[in-house]
Structure formats: structure tokens, C-alpha cells
Amino acid sequence: MNFWEKLQKIDRRIIYFLLLLVIIIPQFRPIKFKPKAMPPVERLFRYIDNIPEDKALLISVDYSPDTEPELHPMTYSLLRHAFARRVKVGVLTLGILGLGLAEDALKTVVKEFQGKAKTSLDSIIYGRDYVFLGWQTPPLVVLLGMGESITKVFPVDYYGNKTDTIPFLQKIRNYRDVSIVVSIAGSAVPFWYVTYAQTTFGVRVGAGSTAVQAADFYPYLNSGQVTGLIAGMKGAAEYEELVERELNVKERRKATEAMTSQTFAHIVIILFIIIGNISFFFLRKKKR
């Protein structure tokens, strides 16, 4: 086996090991690359930034643990953004696996804000500033039902409180009081919101998706059916950057930290593709 043939057949364990190194090492000391926000992220940020006082942001946590590293930072950033701007937030999930993650994000971000609050006005209070509706099934019932009455679809919230007694839900009754629904998912759930909630009730829809799935959203983004898109770790890091820069919310930026590992992993993958192609061309030339 000559040199070029050897390059064609690098043991996959070597690739795995190199990738493991470039992913793990930056985790110990991440470089904070500051990404520039691209138009889809910027559009969503600006829209949420201008939500009127009497309207709410609905965050639909529609991902599961497998995509948590990529999508959870988006939920953090959206909550930080909304709380910093004093936008009312309703959180729900269409998949049962999203419950624990939504609860975790809410608990973490509320704690961050409570730590800095000095008066009741600064505080983030359950039932006044946000509500966690929990999970209901089937999705079709939730998607269409919220257009008529949120409390009818969710008679009790995640903690077992009757929703019709919660002040937040006395003001935010259905999609007419919701400025935008942002569905964060590693699946096609945001499209369901477009198909059912937007088509029937005209509510705006934003999306957060994994990077591999992002390409599917562009037709909807171009048509205006999806207002803005946070795509993958990069999109999450861009949103974190906007939240920190424009609202001065300085908290741990998990997506920005993870971008170091992702960048080096991409470099390794690109290098291996180049190596594979160079050896491929030399071998092809030799055969001819």
C-alpha cells in the first residue's frame, strides 16, 4: 500500500480520536468568539424586542434531551431577552420530553434575574411575568385550541394551579394576545405551528432548529411564514451575543462556549475531506 492509498484508508478510530480531542480540549478553556448575527436571527431578535406591553411571547419547548446541547441555549437566550425587556412569557411543550427541559430553563433564568432584583417590580414573578403551561396532547388540540382559549386547552398549569385564576392568563387569552410563538425543536414542530396556528389564526411564528435541519426552514423564512430563525449552535451564539450586547445581560453563554469546539471540529472535518480528495485525485491519475 503506497502513501496515497494509506491516506485513502485512514483508520476511523484515528478520526474519532482527533475529533474527540478538538471537542474536549476547548471545553476546558473556551475562546469566546463573538459571532455577528445573521439576518434570520437579527429579525427574530428585533421582533421580540418590539413586542408591545399587552402582548406575550409564547415559547414552545419542543425538543428532547438528544438535541439539548444545541437547542437549550436558545431557550435561555429567549427567556433572558423577554425578561430583560419585561415581555410576558408563556412556556409550553408539545412533546412530553420537553417538560423537564422547559422547567430547567425557566428555573435557571428566573434565578439569574431574581438574584439581581431589588424590588418587586424588578423581580420576575410567576403568574404576573411568566407562566408555565406544561404539556397537553394531542398537538392538534393545542395548536388549534389556543386560538380559542388557552385556559380551555390547559385547565391547569405545570404546577397544578387552575389557569383561569392566574393573572397572566386573564390578560393573555388566546393567539390574539400573543405577539409571536417561537417553537424550538429538532423536528418539524415549528411547521405545525405554521400549518395550523398561523394559517387558521394568523399568529406569527419564529423557530429555533438544529443546524442539520435549518435548510428546511428557509422556504418558510423567505415567504415570511417564519418571522425569524435561530439555526444551530451558531444561531444560538448569535442570539446570546445580541442579548448581551444590546440588553447588557451578562450570564453564562453556553452556545458561545460550545462554538469553540464546533469550530475546531469543523476544521478537522474539512481537513479530512481535503486529505480524502487529494489522495483520491492522485490515485485516479495513477490509474489512468
Binding site: 476511523r12 445573521m38 396532547t137 423567505n222 472535518i269 474539512i270 475531506i273
Partner: protein
């Protein structure tokens, strides 16, 4: 009768599912609300019972027949039982009748989920990065014009997503964005129309009873 009844049910509810989107009359809308808000939920509740029953039966059978990796079925059944009991009786964050902590050790449903389910799920999905790296090295070759185009587009999109590269070449992320916005959208729309028309045709065939394979094997 064995075939006609399911076909009639599918036809009835298939048509009933379409009508509310076209007929705004209160009779149709109220009937749709009633069915969607109450009856559909009851049907879904049954699917949970069906799902749990099916998974228990499948794994119990695996253990009984000592099929390959039957030992893991014990782990699954034990995990199912433990999490179900803690979830049902422990309440959210241990506020239920069942105690969910011993000293500082907490094992309420939220702690179990965040400490076990989330890392396990994330680990499984992260393996994809390793397979993708190895597969792209082996398969991503500029064999012909189309493959070369694909390779160039992939390189631009990958490089465009790297903040240091974007700093060196500020226009690259916008080229990457253009690839996603224009050529990608054009292809995706074509594929999307194709899929949607296919789904529509298949759905109509099922509703009208032309496509009957879902009924299972018959004479």
C-alpha cells in the same frame, strides 16, 4: 364487514377532519371543537395505555425467550417502573406523598430527568458527529461536476459558520446565507411541493378506500 367498518370510519373521520377548514358554519365548527377538545384527547389517552402495554409485553417476551440482549430488557422495565412510581407519587420536585430525597441525595423526577435522561440522550446524539466526520472523509469526493458543486457549497456553509473565518472573510457568512436562501430554497420548495402532493394523493386514496394496505393482510 371486517373491512367495511374500518373503511367507513376512516372515510367519515377523514372527511370530517377536512370540512372545518373549508366550512366556517357554526354547526361544523362547534362539532369540530367538541370532537377535537374532548373525544380526540380520550383517544390519545388510550394510546398511552396501548404504548405502555406494548413495551412491557415486548420486553417481557424478550426476557422469557432469552432473545439477544435480553438482559437489557430488565433495565428498561425496572427504569420504567421506578420513574413511573416516582413521577406519579413523588410529584414535581419531590412535593408529592412519596419521599424523593435521602439527606442531600435527591431523586425526584426532575433530578432524574436532568441528571440521567438528558446526558444519555445528548451522548447518543453526539455520536452522530463522529460518524459524520468519518463518513464525509470517505464519501465526500469530487468525483464529478455535481459532486464538486456540492463539495464547494458545503465548504462555504461550514466555513461561514466559523466565527474566526467570518472575521477574516466578512463576506463569507453572507455567501453562505445566500446559498441557503436562494439555491437551497429553490430545491426545497420543489421537493416540498412533490412531497405535499404525494401526501395529498395518498391521503385521498386512504380516505376514499382505494389504498387499503393499512388494513393488513387479507385474502
Amino acid at each position: 364487514m371486517r373491512n367495511r367498518l374500518p373503511l367507513a370510519i376512516v372515510f367519515l373521520f377523514g372527511v370530517f377532519g377536512i370540512l372545518p377548514f373549508f366550512i366556517p358554519h357554526p354547526i361544523v365548527q362547534n362539532l369540530d371543537n367538541e370532537f377535537r377538545n374532548y373525544h380526540l384527547r380520550i383517544i390519545y389517552a388510550f394510546s398511552l395505555v396501548l404504548g405502555v402495554g406494548s413495551i412491557i409485553r415486548h420486553h417481557w417476551e424478550k426476557i422469557r425467550r432469552k432473545k439477544e440482549h435480553w438482559e437489557y430488557s430488565y433495565v428498561l422495565l425496572a427504569s420504567l417502573a421506578v420513574t413511573a412510581v416516582i413521577g406519579l407519587l413523588g410529584g414535581i420536585e419531590g412535593k408529592g406523598p412519596l419521599p424523593t430525597s435521602i439527606g442531600r441525595l435527591r431523586f425526584d423526577i426532575q433530578t432524574i430527568y436532568i441528571s440521567i435522561a438528558v446526558p444519555l440522550g445528548a451522548t447518543m446524539f453526539s455520536l452522530l458527529a463522529f460518524f459524520m466526520a468519518s463518513a464525509s472523509y470517505r464519501a465526500f469526493k469530487a468525483r464529478n461536476f455535481e459532486a464538486t458543486l456540492l463539495l464547494i457549497a458545503a465548504f462555504i456553509v461550514m466555513l461561514g459558520s466559523m466565527p474566526p473565518v467570518a472575521r477574516l472573510l466578512p463576506k463569507l457568512p453572507f455567501i453562505s446565507e445566500w446559498i441557503l436562501t436562494v439555491p437551497n430554497t429553490a430545491a426545497k420548495r420543489g421537493i416540498g411541493f412533490g412531497i405535499t402532493l404525494g401526501v395529498l394523493a395518498t391521503s385521498l386514496k386512504i380516505i376514499l378506500g382505494i389504498e387499503r394496505s393499512w388494513l393488513g393482510g387479507t385474502k
